[in-house]
Symmetry: C2
Subunit: 230 residues, 2 copies
DNA sequence: TCTCATATCGATACACTGTATTGCTCATAT
DNA sequence: ATATGAGCAATACAGTGTATCGATATGAGA
């Protein structure tokens, strides 16, 4: 039997692990949003059959969980600042930046408990920042309040950003109008306070708006940590 | 040709409008979550062909928008309290209650700008509560901050609620463990602050936790509205 | 009252989804 | 050398959102 008669040896399938799978899924999501992530497309990126992924995840939701946890690694600050306030501020801003890099994160944020290793590490670092400053319950309330704020704020920011992007309007025109619809509604005079806000309000960029609200919330937390002298 | 030979006249299709469609979709979502809402199933509830719905909506996303706006009607308080603080507190709690009645709302909240009639009415009422109390920009910041908080908080609450529900564990066991996973992770000692929080923390019910954080944020807003005397 | 135009509907079709099942193939252990 | 087990691709299924299209019933105009 000559070489010509013998078939080439079958190519072994490219090795796979969760890391590669998650990376492919994130790449897909970064390009086309969460809805662009399908098991088939992720597998295709890895030169694998779709069903092969189910050795590593047992459901598509789990893939999303892995994606979120992967991004949490970007959020985890490299070194811990001493000040709790600075720690929380950095956490909030890093989360926001991650969401701007990966807009799909906004769809997932707060949608499920984050129990992955990186998610837990983020929580640990956050809680640790309060060490010795207050009782456990107060600390919990503080962390929950701040994170509720920035998750909500990030969601809104991304939502608005997408709406602008979809209509192709400039940010200014968008805020002022959202096309004819809002203009017409406001013109009816049925929403005077809203109209005033839209027309008389200053355009502040998203980051300062985010930072301002965050500072307010941090102020509130500070007040609860060190109650004013009676 | 006797009556017996003649077929009955063709039944006219049941009349349809957005209201009916949205009601059917909401019913479906209340029973089985957002993922139970499919164009075919909504149509089936109305004895209509799937394609018929596309005269009233042009995409499934629009159906979701309509659903959210419909629920906003439940949120709109019937009468406006004089106090801005009370107004915002009520808004937050009503939104939370709506989300508890319609868990799918948590998936949609903050996901897209709410430009429907009821959504705008809610915004109007909220802004109106601040009339004359501060400049437009401060008011905007206040409203955005508070709503960011409660959207984030509601999302987390529903997320936890679902996680409990899925495992069938009691709330207590859930918070303590989430099955073996968290227990094992905590046992490694790599997350001391987290472990302390989980084991030493008091179980507070979701509503008080929500209300507490809300009060903190409202305190912060109050401080910005009436700056302390210099 | 008859005819025509228009709006609306149901059926069909398409490309795609997540995942259960099945049987093959190859690497290892005996 | 053979048996065993794991890992994989292929196939299949039920379901999805929505484009297209031909039939049909309704209202307007003569």
């Amino acid at each position: 039997m000559t070489v010509w008669d013998r078939p080439e040896p079958p190519t072994r399938p490219v090795p796979l692990d969760r890391e590669r799978i998650v990376a492919a899924a994130i790449a897909l999501a970064d390009e086309g949003g969460l809805e662009a992530v399908s098991v088939r497309k992720v597998a295709a990126r890895l030169d694998a059959g779709p069903m092969r992924l189910y050795r590593y995840i047992s459901t598509k939701e789990e893939l999303f969980d892995l994606m979120v946890d992967e991004v949490q690694a970007e959020i985890l600050p490299e070194e811990q600042p001493g000040d709790w306030r600075e720690a929380l501020r950095i956490l909030a801003h890093r989360t926001r930046q991650a969401a701007l890099r990966h807009e799909w994160l906004a769809d997932l944020l707060g949608g499920r408990p984050t129990l992955g290793p990186n998610g837990l590490a983020v929580t640990e670092a956050t809680l640790a920042a309060f060490d010795g400053l207050a009782d456990v319950d107060t600390v919990m309330r503080a962390v929950e309040t701040v994170s509720a704020y920035f998750i909500g704020a990030i969601r809104r920011e991304i939502a608005n950003l997408r709406a602008e992007h979809a209509t192709g309007l400039s940010k200014h025109d968008w805020q002022r109008a959202h096309g004819p619809h809002v203009t017409r509604i406001l013109a009816t005079g049925r929403f005077p306070a809203l109209a005033k806000a839209v027309y008389d309000g200053t355009d502040v960029d998203a980051e300062t708006s985010f930072a301002t609200g965050l500072d307010w919330v941090l102020d509130a937390v500070a007040a609860k940590l060190t109650p004013p002298p009676a």
